[in-house]
Point group: C2
Chain length 331, copies 2
DNA sequence: CTGTTAGCGCATTCAC
DNA sequence: GTGAATGCGCTAACAG
């Protein structure tokens, strides 16, 4: 009937009229078929076909207070490190009928705060953030919003709500222990300037027991910045033996620069990365790195959120997924 | 721990009461300050602070028919190839106050059709899809929805609405021409089984003038699949001279396998990838590949969508961003 | 400049 | 099983 190309979209009202039933019956036939007779369902289904009806989730969500959306904040979607998490999160949510709204904070706290505000205003059924939320304003707003929140890729004994991650202090400490166990004493760090990398550095220093030469590069780190970082570190200590890098990209840059300077890896210089990127096993030499199960983080975050949405009790609101050092040829 | 299940959120109504103004005045003070006196704005602003009000965009969108969301469909977010596009798109949209809803089709047409339905039901102000939409059902539904659509990473003279991409036939043809120009005659193709890669292959074959040995791997392609693909191709032609790979990941795998078999690159075997991934310039030897400006695709798609949202006329609804062969050491 | 009146499209009460 | 009201929270229209 209303087949004019006018932008007047067809609503449930049109479907109900077409099917000769009331609005609410049409609604139930579509989203709650158990409550309606087979015959009516068939009639409504035909009417949907005939009218080309596509439900308006916004309108439904307004009343039911369910948006079927989850907001995810990452520092930078182009940073490969968080991709497995985003992918696993998207897949798990999608299977439950939820979609992801993406936001990039750019490693910027002010930006994160603003973005959290926008996200809350969309009334998602859950919010996943990368890292811990440090801003008290944001923490308060999130709490008052009542929206389930999962902080990921880090751990806290006092999360806003829930958390899935691992201890960056322990990572730094473990790599330092690994280096020391190898007998290396002239150590160095090449690190991005983001929060979590800094914490890994602190863990490293604590275990080493003293400060070490450090090259800091702006996040997100990259191969090019890694080359620069090695130049930096060699200027600080020409006889440096082992370097802990805050990402595999950075480590790769350090390796490239090392080779360009005629340094042998690992004989002259040992290198450990972070993240176990897909290329880490295939560089030459292959890269020793800290492996983190980013996909699990995403899957677990989704499960926490979905459980919460179903009103189930959360047995364990803080989950440690751990990490492990994968030793390859670069050490 | 114990959260009240229904923390009745503060609404604009509360703000209006607190500020002693009417609902609509509060609304305007927040989202249309030009229409309200300075004094009133200040009063409302104070009330917002006092109540901790965060607007509900869903409710506003219902009436104003603007969701300030754009849906983006990619085959797989973990495939690095589309990341620059997603990033540029997110950034450009965010600057205009729009957020991105992400969907993954998994290179599956049925899944894409279903996902498009879900996305339409969220009434986004725009939809960006990767590749062309081939399903007639989807094309019709999109058209009827009246939502602006940008098809990306490909071109069509008959787009659903708008398109930003390049010709995959021409890419295949250009690489074939490049190979032939080098004097290579025993050619091969290692390709993912997705639509666009297949079209590149067809372009390649047309220019070569005859069929060539082809190893097909399931998308998304990877380094591991590349190793397999080379084994495949060598079985078909042990004296193959040059291979066109449908992704840099695949090309990297071919290179690794070639080296494992004692083949010299490019003397024994020349390799050309596709996409110019960040690692392509840093493999050993560095990888010749087809460079595409993925970020531009995202930026242009955002611009088209935003212009359309502002009701502006679109001068050029189909934009060709082109491509170029970056010659490196692998050829 | 400000307020009143109507809804946006649907789902949650209740009735029948 | 089905239906009639009622409003979710907000904003276009018009008024004043």
């Amino acid at each position: 009937m209303t087949d004019t190309n006018a932008p007047k979209s067809v609503t449930l009202h049109d479907v109900a009229r077409e099917a000769g039933v009331s609005l609410i019956t049409a609604s139930r036939a579509i989203s709650n078929p158990g409550m309606v007779s087979e015959k009516t369902i068939a009639r409504v289904r035909l009417a949907v076909e005939a009218t080309g009806y596509i439900p308006n989730l916004l309108a439904g969500g307004l009343k039911s207070r369910k948006s079927l959306m989850v907001a995810a904040l990452v520092p930078n979607i182009a940073v490969a490190q968080f991709l497995p998490t985003v992918k696993a999160l998207t897949d798990a949510l999608d299977a439950a009928g939820y979609q992801l709204i993406l936001g990039q904070t750019g490693y910027d706290h002010a930006r994160e705060e603003a973005l959290l505000g926008t996200m809350i205003s969309r009334r998602p059924d859950g919010i996943v953030v990368t890292g811990l939320i440090h801003s008290q304003v944001s923490r308060d707003r999130l709490r008052r919003s009542g929206i389930p929140v999962v902080e990921t890729w880090d751990l806290s004994d006092r999360p806003v709500d829930m958390a899935v991650g691992f201890s960056h202090v322990k990572v730094g400490s473990a790599v330092a222990g690994f280096f020391l166990g190898k007998g290396w004493r002239r150590l160095g760090i090449a690190t991005g300037d983001d929060q979590r990398a800094s914490v890994r550095r602190e863990g490293f220093l604590t275990t080493v027991g003293h400060d070490v030469p450090t090259a800091v590069v702006p996040a997100p780190s990259s191969l090019a910045l890694g080359r620069q970082a090695l130049a930096d570190l060699l200027a600080k200590d020409p006889h440096i033996e082992a370097i802990f890098c805050s990402s595999d990209q950075l480590a790769q840059g350090v390796m490239v620069e090392a080779r360009a300077r005629g340094l042998r890896i690992p004989e002259d210089l040992a290198i450990c990365g972070f993240g176990d990127a897909d290329f880490a096993a295939h560089t030459d030499p292959s890269l020793t790195t800290v492996q983190v199960d980013g996909a699990s983080i995403g899957t677990l975050a989704a499960r926490l959120l979905l459980d919460r949405c179903r009103g189930e009790a959360i047995a364990q609101p803080v989950i440690d997924v751990g990490f492990r050092i994968v030793e390859r040829a670069s050490t």
